[in-house]
């Protein structure tokens, strides 16, 4: 694969879809949570961590992957799920806690699983690293293709699991990529206050892995770096720690106004989607008309997914008692 016009159009489309998805969810989230915020109220209860601003990471990395590759993610999974092609209707229904959701409403927005596209997420920081490495190991043992990719935030590198798993990846030369989404904030704590090194990709040296740092929240650069990492993984070149500087345009979760992001630090938090749109139009990959048509189509698709979810039945209460064990 290479960075063709098709790939770039696709990345833009994925970013727009993810944003539209998060925008619609945000609208739904606030229903019945104003004027007085109640965590569990409204059609979309619980915590909601949207991906506003981080869309380039999902779009860029996933565009470089194949269907056999296996992804684990964390508590902010929408942009990656959308980029990976997780079924939008069942994804939405899951987030609305409906019977038609991916997990029948057992998971919710932090626990997105779609085996069809080898995608899973889990809400505990850095917890997806070991499983993604294990998935890669499984394929290696089975002689089947597929590499493991785990997305974590820059704060997750300070979990012991990061050190343990990266070392294991290095020791066993597993076909694995750790994508670090550096949005600068672990909830409210700035990277500079939590992490003794500026670039976590530098840590790769210690683990016998390759480190890459991509600045600018730029899907084209992210794609190129991901492609290099994928090639290394597929050709026995070992694992990669790919740190991507990205932006978190909103708070940690819905309801966090992000007042702690001030001054110079605000400069990082730039919306990447209009920038990319402009670039594709300038480079004649999209026109104003084709971009608008694409945006309209994607928005329609997202609205349909929202309607599907809203109209879907809730699960039967008895379903809470199913699925704890596999039969």
């Amino acid at each position: 694969m290479s960075l063709t016009s098709d790939v770039r159009r696709k990345m833009y489309e994925v970013m727009v879809r993810s944003r539209a998805f998060d925008d619609r969810l945000t609208e739904q989230y606030w229903i019945d949570k104003k004027p007085i915020f109640a965590f569990g109220a409204g059609p979309l209860p619980g915590e909601l961590h949207t991906s506003h601003g981080q869309e380039p990471v999902g779009a860029g990395v996933c565009a470089a992957l194949l269907a056999d590759d296996m992804i684990t993610t964390g508590h902010r999974p929408h942009h990656i799920a959308v980029a990976r092609g997780v079924d939008l209707k069942s994804l939405t229904a899951e987030i609305f806690g409906r019977k038609t959701g991916l997990s029948g409403g057992r998971g919710g927005h932090m626990h997105i699983y779609d085996k069809r596209v080898n995608f899973s997420s889990s809400g505990i920081i850095a917890e997806g690293l070991g499983p993604a490495a294990g998935m890669a190991l499984a394929r290696k043992m089975q002689g089947k293709p597929g590499i493991g990719i785990s997305f974590i935030g820059e704060g997750a590198v300070n979990q012991g699991a990061f050190h343990e798993v990266m070392n294991i990846v290095g020791v066993f030369k597993l076909p694995f990529i750790c994508v670090i989404e550096d949005n600068k904030y672990a909830v409210t704590t700035h990277k500079s206050a939590s992490t003794a090194t500026e670039r976590n990709s530098d840590r790769a040296t210690c683990y016998g892995m390759t480190g890459e740092f991509v600045s600018g929240n730029d899907p084209d650069l992210i794609y190129a770096a991901a492609e290099r990492a994928v090639t290394r993984a597929r050709t026995g070149g070992g694992g990669t720690i790919l740190e991507v500087e990205t932006a978190r345009l909103l708070g940690h979760f819905m309801g966090d106004p992000g007042g702690y992001i001030t001054g110079e630090r605000k400069l990082y938090q730039v919306d990447p989607i209009p920038i990319y749109r402009r670039r594709l139009i300038d480079e004649n990959i999209l026109t104003e008309a084709t971009a608008s048509a694409l945006e309209l189509a994607v928005n329609t698709e997202v609205n349909e997914a929202m309607r599907f979810a809203a109209e879907s039945p809730f699960p039967d209460p008895i379903d809470a008692l199913n699925c704890t064990f596999a039969d």
Binding site: M70, T72, G101, L102, S103, G104, R106, G107, H111, Y113, D114, K115, S120, S122, I124, E127, L129, G130, P131, A132, A133, G134, M135, A136, L137, A138, R139, M141, Q142, G148, G160, A161, H163, E164, V165, N167, I168, V171, F172, N322, C323, T324, F325, A326, D327
Partner: protein
């Protein structure tokens, strides 16, 4: 094949149909059989390929199956538990060796929050068929951080099957069952009863005739080691053997004790517990785990919830009394559920001895 008819003792199926084995060796045979017959079964853990694991659980497996299937891991339990869970999600059947269950703290998240919950959270899309093989228990002066049982800690979490065989026959059959199960199974063997040579004299009641070849022992069924009519001693792990010894002592006093081995904590055979207690009308629970909030309480709750009227006397528990396991021998043995404590509890129950304090 030779056409000459073999003498009976030359036929493996006849001459060597079974042998007396320790639990350790018996369960290892099951692992070996599964690894031979299912390429998806593999083992990960610390010091297993050459050393065979601290308690011999992998003895000889590295030499037989190679380093690609008996994989030595760095001291990174949270890393390799997660690794195993991910491999299991992709169709492998990992057996993870954790020498001491005490170390569960450093990997509890990968187990309880990931491996145990993935099937549920994914609505059944992903199965996590993995076995955590771990050693439990005290009695040899290894002190507070290498002597715990932690039965309840694991059994409390939804999505984890927890079993604890107490003899070689069950150990092999339950290991086959564990490896073939599509869930996370924590396979606990008390170090003192596993039959590892250096743990001291073998616990004779843990030895058993073990058939060659594979067979399964299902989870969720109690085993009545010894039938009795006066009092049920329901036990788990090494406490089962203490209970058998206590039953011998009690027999001298004319008390007929029934010894019931839970074998499996999740699933728990509540019918089996009830059946025994309904028969004897008296209950002592022996568990080397901590007293409070544990298996012993669960057993009593089972009876109380189903039919408290079967009890002719208040039930008693013989457990570790909510303190850490001490190092010094007299301290340690004072808090373990040894035979004398179990027998005392049974006598107290028999005399309906209310209000004389906890045993």
């Amino acid at each position: 094949m030779s056409t000459k008819e073999a003498a009976p003792w030359e036929s493996p199926t006849l001459a060597n149909a079974s042998r007396t084995l320790t639990m350790c060796r018996a369960q290892r045979e099951a692992v070996e059989w599964e690894m031979t017959n299912d390429p998806n079964v593999f083992m990960v853990g610390e010091d297993i390929s050459g050393f065979g694991g601290v308690f011999g659980t992998a003895d000889g497996l590295g030499a037989k199956f190679g380093l690609d299937r008996v994989i030595d891991m760095p001291i990174s339990e949270t890393g390799f538990m997660g690794l195993a869970a991910g491999a299991a999600m992709e169709g492998m059947r990992p057996i993870v060796e954790l020498a001491y269950v005490d170390f569960i703290g450093v990997c509890f998240n990968a187990l309880a929050n990931f491996a145990a919950k993935t099937h549920f959270m994914s609505g059944g899309q992903f199965k996590v068929p993995m076995v955590l093989l771990t050693g439990t228990g005290a009695g040899y002066s290894n002190a507070a951080q290498h002597s715990q049982c932690m039965h309840a800690t694991l059994a409390h979490m939804p999505g984890i099957k927890v079993v604890s065989p107490t003899n070689a026959y069950d150990a092999k059959g339950m290991m086959h069952t564990a490896i073939r199960d599509d869930n996370l199974v924590v396979f606990m063997v008390h170090k003192g009863a596993s039959g590892v040579g250096f743990m001291g004299p073998l616990v004779k009641t843990s030895l058993a005739d073990v058939p060659q070849g594979d067979y399964t022992v299902p989870f969720g069924k109690v085993k009545v080691y010894r039938e009795g009519t006066d009092v049920s001693i329901v036990a788990v792990g090494l406490a089962v053997h203490h209970a058998l010894q206590a039953a011998e002592e009690l027999a001298k006093d004319g008390i007929s004790a029934e010894v019931v081995d839970l074998r499996s904590l999740v699933p728990l055979d509540r019918d089996g517990i009830m059946e025994s207690v309904a028969k004897t009308g008296r209950l002592v629970v022996a568990d080397e785990d901590y007293l409070s909030y544990g298996v012993s309480g669960e057993v009593i709750a089972t009876v109380v919830e189903r039919d408290p009227t079967v009890l002719k006397a208040p039930a008693r528990r013989v457990c570790v009394p909510d303190v850490s396991i001490p190092f010094s021998r007299p301290l340690e043995y004072s808090i373990l559920p040894v035979a004398s404590r179990i027998a005392d509890a049974a006598r107290a129950v028999m005399s309906n001895d209310r209000g004389k304090g906890r045993v």
